[in-house]
Symmetry: C2
Subunit: 405 residues, 2 copies
């Protein structure tokens, strides 16, 4: 008799977004004339840059011709793209990363999930709370999380609460952690870490033989000078950290799919280079990103591409400012939204996340995400995203202001 | 201290293709004026159909516009594509598959590798010998294969030799197998199985509570009427089999990346629907195939798309015929190449795979793949592929004929 992976049965349902969808549907059925504004989902809305679509048109032409056709590419990505990543995302910031330390992939979600393949099951795992659920669920699937308790926590995971008191920065884990997930700028809180703050983690990891899994998917939104874009800006990080980057939010690639992961050759566990293990994992279980998509991603680094994506990011960050300032003006305590497209707003009068969510939906027809959906320490907050249109953002803020005054 | 997945260290190096590359490089250095013909690699060479590139151009335009932009899509694929798959690949053959049993993905390699995530580590696994190495390596990485022995076999895998005597069809496993990988039309032997032959496996799996992982990546090359395109043509298969399909060879998508996996809802293990587990795996660890690529894949099913891909497949199958008949005419015993783009040729005079490979390279400047690279039972054979140009194929066959006469 075949046997399933029983860890899958321990996973609670993905109630968060399905519950939100259900509530929104009910509201719409009752209020067919109300225009819903969605500020909950972390998906971009603005089109790809023309530099990118031009490059993809050319690549489609290549694929339709005998001379330009591309079959299987290198699983780790074409050198034309990896070279641009090395030059633009690292060398320009004074970071020395080699081309064979870059692994192009179809998404940071896939990579942050699949990376645990190369680690033993009995590693202890530390995650922030609140947290992007993929880190938790993929470790639960692999058998590293133990059981899901009534308190909303997995028995074997180490939770690092990110609270208002600590500026939403996690404290060092309460007990020894082998693998540590960090995400800065952070999803869902929108908060960033300075070099000094990150250095504490690099130091911890080096002293304890831990590996930091650093999700840097939102680095393009950083506005402050002293916020590092890469964990490798911290000395010694190449010996203890894997970095995940994505074109999803940087260049609107959520439906185009391209990301990359950096595994430095200095990073060894028990004397074994993780770079070689990840190379083996990717060459065995992955066939690379479409040629057309890699050509599009390469165009992000062109002069025109950079100009266009920066305009789009400015557009979103202007939305973030409108949300942040509007909600503050309405009396809410707000965090994030300065170096990230997410705003983390404290509920008024000690309301629960879901209560405030319901109230915003019922009275303002604005959809947000209840913070409790990202972990127990998210209770008492809601997340708003800056990815809507300017007009819808303004209107949503006005509606929220009206009900809060 | 973090710990790596020690199973990775048990993997032997991927010596096959690197050894081939080394030998070819050495030959080229010594014989710079000789024109090498590559008949070894299973990658397509002809451009995408115009119907496909037209659809992709339109999709790129969509992605560059406000109205047509697509962000995150459903992880399981867009319904426009899943519906076409259901209608064309199943309904037209009298097979009833529901849309939510189709999971669109970036490749059959990824899917056949990742599928083992949903199974317990202690399942016993049966593979054909010779075999597509991904089935073996991914199970070794997951800890199901035991240790790699000096005989070229993993201690815990059940090998099902496919030999000349049995028409290269595997015999039922010698001991109980929980998971059984089958690939028809087969890579590397190019042989196909009839309905009656497949029915034996479905019967075995149903009696033993086994799950068949059926790789059908080469179904588009089937020419004979009595060869099933899908394992679901066999009664009862929906209760015991997962099927993997790909656009890679069907429509030249090796560099475009689109495939799909069918997990019927009737398929339960220990009372649990595997469909739900795979859905959970894919929604948690995967973000879907690019919109542009799915639009291209959908165009494969258009009238023009079908016409074009059939022309390309005919072109390759004509190459297969030339290889098969040419080598037979030169006195070799050849298999495959009738319902598959692979020809499995017996080495002459009891030569070893590598000896014959060397001889073809040295004397004819033709690159093949030694059968031993696919498993111990591949010794004494070489694999040739039909994916080259007509001219190169003809010339390669002439050169081989010349050295064999």
């Amino acid at each position: 008799m075949a046997k399933i992976n029983e860890n899958y049965l321990k996973l609670p349902g993905s109630y968060l977004f399905s519950t939100i969808a259900k509530k929104v549907n009910e509201y719409t059925a009752k209020n067919p004339d109300k225009k819903i504004i969605r500020m909950g989902i972390g998906d971009v809305t603005r089109p790809l840059a023309k530099a990118v679509t031009d490059a993809m048109h050319d690549a489609v032409e290549d694929m339709g011709s005998y001379e330009g056709f591309h079959g299987y590419g290198p699983e780790q990505g074409y050198d034309f793209l990896r070279m641009l990543i090395v030059e633009n995302d690292y060398k320009k910031r004074g970071i020395d990363i080699a081309i064979d330390e870059i692994f192009v992939s179809d998404g940071a979600k896939s990579d942050t999930g699949n990376i645990t393949d190369i680690f033993a099951v009995d590693n202890t795992v530390a995650v922030c709370d609140p947290v992007y659920p993929v880190y938790v669920d993929t470790n639960a699937m692999a058998g590293r999380a133990g059981d899901f308790g009534k308190d909303g926590r997995w028995t074997n995971l180490i939770y690092m609460p990110c609270t208002e008191e600590s500026g939403f920065l996690p404290a060092l884990p309460s007990k020894h952690a082998d693998l540590i997930y960090l995400c800065f700028p952070n999803n869902p809180t929108g908060m960033a870490a300075t070099k000094e703050q990150l250095a504490v983690w690099v130091d911890y990891a080096r002293r304890n033989g831990s590996v930091i899994l650093f999700d840097s998917a939102y680095e393009a939104f950083i506005q402050d000078e002293d916020v590092p874009h890469s964990i490798y800006e911290i000395e010694g990080a190449k010996e203890c950290a894997i970095e995940f980057r994505s074109f999803s939010k940087t260049a609107g690639f959520t439906g185009t799919r391209c990301a990359y992961t950096v595994v430095p050759k200095e990073l060894k566990v028990g004397g074994v280079m993780l770079n070689g293990l990840w190379l083996r994992r990717q060459t065995t279980k992955f066939n690379g990103v479409p040629y057309i998509v890699q050509k599009g991603a390469a165009a992000v680094y062109s002069e025109q591409g950079q100009k266009e994506i920066k305009e789009t990011i400015s557009y979103y960050m202007n939305n973030a400012k409108i949300i942040r300032e509007g909600l503050a003006c309405a009396g809410l305590t707000v965090y994030g939204g300065v170096n990230a497209p997410y705003i983390w707003a404290k509920t008024p009068n000690g309301l629960g996340s879901w209560e405030f969510f319901d109230s915003l939906l019922e009275k303002a027809a604005v959809v947000t995400t209840p913070g409790a959906g990202f972990g127990p320490s998210g209770e008492g907050y809601i997340r708003l995203t800056a990815f809507s249109t300017l007009d819808a953002t303004k209107e949503a803020v006005e509606r929220i202001k009206k009900i809060l005054y």
